[in-house]
């Protein structure tokens, strides 16, 4: 274990760095005018609905500060929902409620939150506290995903989601993000969630990453995360491909959740997906990205692209040369 890695070694292993991601992929394949489609979650949701992509049901949108006063009215009898900022980033500002106790609401952690505190949260969202650049924002109230019992042993409060990186409409990497106690039920690696790499061809779990380090046991439940197979794997990948087609971004992170009753749902899209998926998979992104990048044309059909994604090979001699 060395203090730092050699850049030549990372190059050979096809590890994608932040500068390269920004310059060669995001800037080249993600035209700026398409960003609002993914940065505005409300817009993404409506686009997806129009294309027949499954998303969590939208309950209400709050756009004006004064509407916050009527929060109790808007919520009605609901006791199971999620409030999130339309322009949030990095999972910030998301409030999950899974129960009600008089005038208080219960979070998945069991903590109670008063209606007043919730109104303040909504007001913060509206005034742009969680949006990029502090622009005034909207608050979305939507269906809380009930996670598939499949994840029961390897998740701690909150919903695991599946992050698929889609390049030019072809999935190139995927991981499952498991909430932990440290992440406060959020499926964001940056906040302490655990990531498990998933083999594109089989849907089988590979390696895991927790707090930036390799790990294959869920830190809270103690269950091994090795060798599990994600159910409905192909439909998840298909959904990711459809999402990419919908917004037209060339380099995209699609966050998909598995609902107990409704199956795979698109939660949100990300125009600047992070690099940790490489650690989770112990596989450099460039290996697959370069293969796709070298293809002059790609098949139009969703299923053909799914096959292509599942046929992406590991590093061969020839490929290693190309990468380094």
């Amino acid at each position: 274990m060395s203090f730092i890695a050699s850049p030549f070694r990372l190059r050979r292993l096809g590890v994608l760095g932040m500068n390269r991601r920004n310059a060669d992929f995001i800037m080249r394949y993600n035209p700026r005018h398409l960003y609002p489609l993914v940065d505005d979650k409300l817009l993404t949701k409506n686009l997806a609905l129009a294309r027949g992509i499954a998303v969590p049901e939208l309950y209400a949108v709050i756009s004006e500060q004064h509407e916050g006063k009527d929060l109790a009215l808007i919520l009605g009898e609901r006791e199971d929902f999620v409030i999130k900022p339309s322009h949030g980033s990095g999972g910030n500002g998301i409030l999950v409620v899974c129960g009600r106790f008089g005038n208080s609401f219960r979070k998945p952690s069991g903590d109670l939150i008063t209606l007043a505190a919730m109104q303040h949260h909504v007001s913060n969202i509206l005034s742009g506290m969680y949006s990029l650049g502090g622009m005034p924002d909207q608050a979305i109230i939507e269906y809380r995903v009930k996670f598939d019992p499949f994840f029961e042993h390897i998740s701690f409060q909150g919903v695991p989601d599946i992050r698929v990186i889609v390049f030019r409409g072809v999935p190139v990497a995927a991981m499952v993000r498991l909430p932990t106690r440290a992440s406060d039920g959020k499926a964001n690696l940056h906040q302490g969630a655990m990531g498990i790499g998933i083999d594109l061809a089989t849907g089988k779990s590979r390696d895991g990453v927790f707090r930036g380090l390799s790990c294959d046991i869920h830190p809270d439940t103690g269950h091994s995360t090795l060798g599990i197979t994600i159910p409905h794997w192909e439909s998840i990948l298909r959904l990711a491909i459809q999402c990419a087609d919908t917004v037209g971004l060339g380099y995209l992170g699609a966050d998909i959740v598995m609902d107990r009753d409704l199956g795979p749902l698109m939660l949100e899209l990300n125009a600047r997906p992070g690099l940790t998926v490489q650690v989770a998979n112990q596989r450099g992104l460039l290996l697959n990205l370069n293969q796709i990048d070298a293809m002059p044309t790609l098949p139009a059909g969703v299923d053909e692209r799914l096959r292509l994604a599942q046929s992406l090979r590991g590093p061969t001699e020839k490929l290693t040369d190309k990468v380094s």
Partner: protein, 510 residues
């Protein structure tokens, strides 16, 4: 290819920036280091006389052509005199006139010069002299010397040099000794040489120069010999035979006409004093560029009013601070609050000095952060909350000033300009990061911002660098070129080398 375009643009920008910079440094002599000084000589001619009650006319020869010098300043000081300057050819004269001059009258002429590389040639075109009729016994001696020298020379320059060598030879032959005996003063000696040169039809004249020695109160002009070779005037020292104008001699006048003349006065006295001083090289060079009519003197920031100059001194350093931010973010991978907030913090440090700035910044931010966490519980709207933080920050600064003032620390007054809005924004962003991503991230980002701010401050406060950017603002082109280059850096960041240090890669995993 995008990369090629970037490289080409960067190359064009960097090369053109450096070329303009090099031109200004080499051709105009602009100093590349701060506080460079140059020697300035001030020569004062003082003419005093007793007026006789009638009209007085004072004539004084003043320097005209100054090869190897740059004239910085010239003053004519005489009370209630009419003044006229007459320039004829290489000669320049000032004439002061007064209707009635009683008693002691004093007039001054003052000139300041600095050594300079620039050449300014004498322009007079002389007529070819006709050989004089020398009287015996000198005629024979002169003729012998003339023919001896002719044997050993090829042109005007070598002829003069050889003539002076023979005339000044330590072992003088009979002919030379005869001529030497006739000249009693250096002036007569110079005229003797001119007479001989007339014999071979070489135009020659006397150039009077003032030796520049510091703190001389009664400097005497030294006669030098000038010969015309058909194109320009060459200078020789008739007493030694050395060619060229000696370095510390200020050419003052030409020919045998009197240096000064006073009519209508008696007890006439003229004194030439020389003093040496030092002046900022930049001022001198600028003056030189102005006289040359170079466009760079008009475009120089030094032509702006002083207060705008001071603003630009700071402003021109901001791109360098930004360059540090780029370096630290794309090559090292330090995370900060906001992109250029560290530069703004660094600017604030200018007011407080580094150490005190860091202490003050950390103190105000931590106290502000604590109060901010309490405000969170009050559930205020965003903008009013920010305002509340701003008010708290101003209050905190006031308090620090009062306390440190009581303790007798002087630094506090400069705190006034410590930008409060930057502090408030830092506190707000830090508290959000704290809530959302945990204390670790918040503190790391805070330290990252502080680190980059300190580095930027250290770079932006280099006096020599500030001077460079101010005198050579075209270096901005170089900074622009560098940022284009860095914009296409797609390699790993230092932080990523650490982040992926345990990366095994798929091959090893299987």
């Amino acid at each position: 290819m995008k990369n090629v375009a970037v490289l080409v643009w960067a190359a064009i920008l960097i090369v053109s920036g450096l070329s303009i910079c090099a031109y200004k440094a080499i051709n105009l002599g602009m100093p590349v280091k701060a506080d460079q000084e140059t020697t300035v000589w001030t020569v004062q001619a003082r003419i005093s006389f007793q007026g006789e009650g009638g009209p007085a006319i004072v004539d004084l020869s003043v320097p005209s052509v100054l090869p190897g010098f740059l004239k910085l300043d010239e003053n004519f000081i005489a009370s209630r005199y009419g003044m006229a300057i007459d320039q004829s050819g290489d000669q320049r004269k000032v004439q002061w006139v007064k209707r009635r001059a009683y008693g002691a009258e004093t007039l001054y002429y003052r000139i300041s010069v600095a050594a300079s590389e620039q050449a300014s040639p004498w322009l007079d075109q002389p007529a070819l002299p006709s050989p004089p009729n020398y009287e015996e016994p000198y005629a024979t001696a002169i003729r012998t010397i003339i023919s001896d020298v002719r044997q050993e020379s090829a042109d005007v320059f070598t002829y003069t040099r050889e003539l002076l060598r023979q005339l000044n030879a330590p072992q003088a032959n009979q002919n030379v000794a005869l001529l030497r005996a006739r000249a009693n003063t250096p002036h007569e000696w110079a005229n003797q040489v001119i007479e001989i040169l007339k014999g071979v039809r070489i135009p020659a004249r006397v150039l009077w120069a003032l030796p520049l020695n510091d703190a001389t109160n009664d400097a005497r002009m030294i006669p030098l010999l000038q010969v015309h070779n058909g194109k320009t005037w060459l200078v020789f020292n008739p007493a030694t035979g050395d060619s060229g104008l000696p370095a510390s001699f200020l050419p003052w006048r030409i020919g045998d006409a009197a240096l000064y003349r006073v009519t209508g006065g008696h007890d006439i006295d003229a004194k030439f004093s020389v003093t040496r001083s030092h002046r900022e090289l930049l001022d001198v060079v600028r003056r030189g560029a102005e006289l040359k009519g170079s466009i760079f003197s008009d475009l120089s920031l030094l032509s702006l009013p002083v207060h705008s100059q001071n603003i630009y001194r700071v402003l021109l350093m901001v791109p360098l601070g930004a360059l540090i931010v780029v370096l630290m973010r794309t090559f090292v991978g330090v995370s900060t609050f906001g992109t250029f907030m560290p530069v703004l913090i660094a600017l604030a440090f200018r007011e407080t000095q580094l150490l005190w700035g860091i202490v003050l910044f950390s103190m105000i931010v931590s106290i502000g952060l604590m109060l901010r966490f309490y405000l969170e519980r009050l559930m205020l709207l965003l903008v009013p909350r920010l305002t509340a933080i701003l008010v708290i920050v101003v209050g905190l600064m006031l308090l620090t000033s009062l306390i440190t003032n009581k303790l007798g620390v002087e630094r506090t007054l400069s705190v006034a300009l410590f930008p409060m809005v930057i502090l408030s924004m830092t506190i707000e962003r830090m508290s959000i990061t704290w809530e959302e991503s945990g204390a670790r991230d918040a503190i790391l980002n805070g330290l990252g911002s502080l680190l980059i701010a300190s580095l930027s401050y250290l770079v932006m406060n280099q006096r020599d660098l500030e001077h460079l950017m101010f005198v050579f603002p075209e270096l901005l082109l170089v900074v622009l070129g560098l940022s284009l280059l860095m914009g296409r850096y797609t390699g790993y960041r230092l932080s990523e080398l650490r982040r992926f240090r345990n990366f095994r890669g798929e091959a090893a995993h299987k």
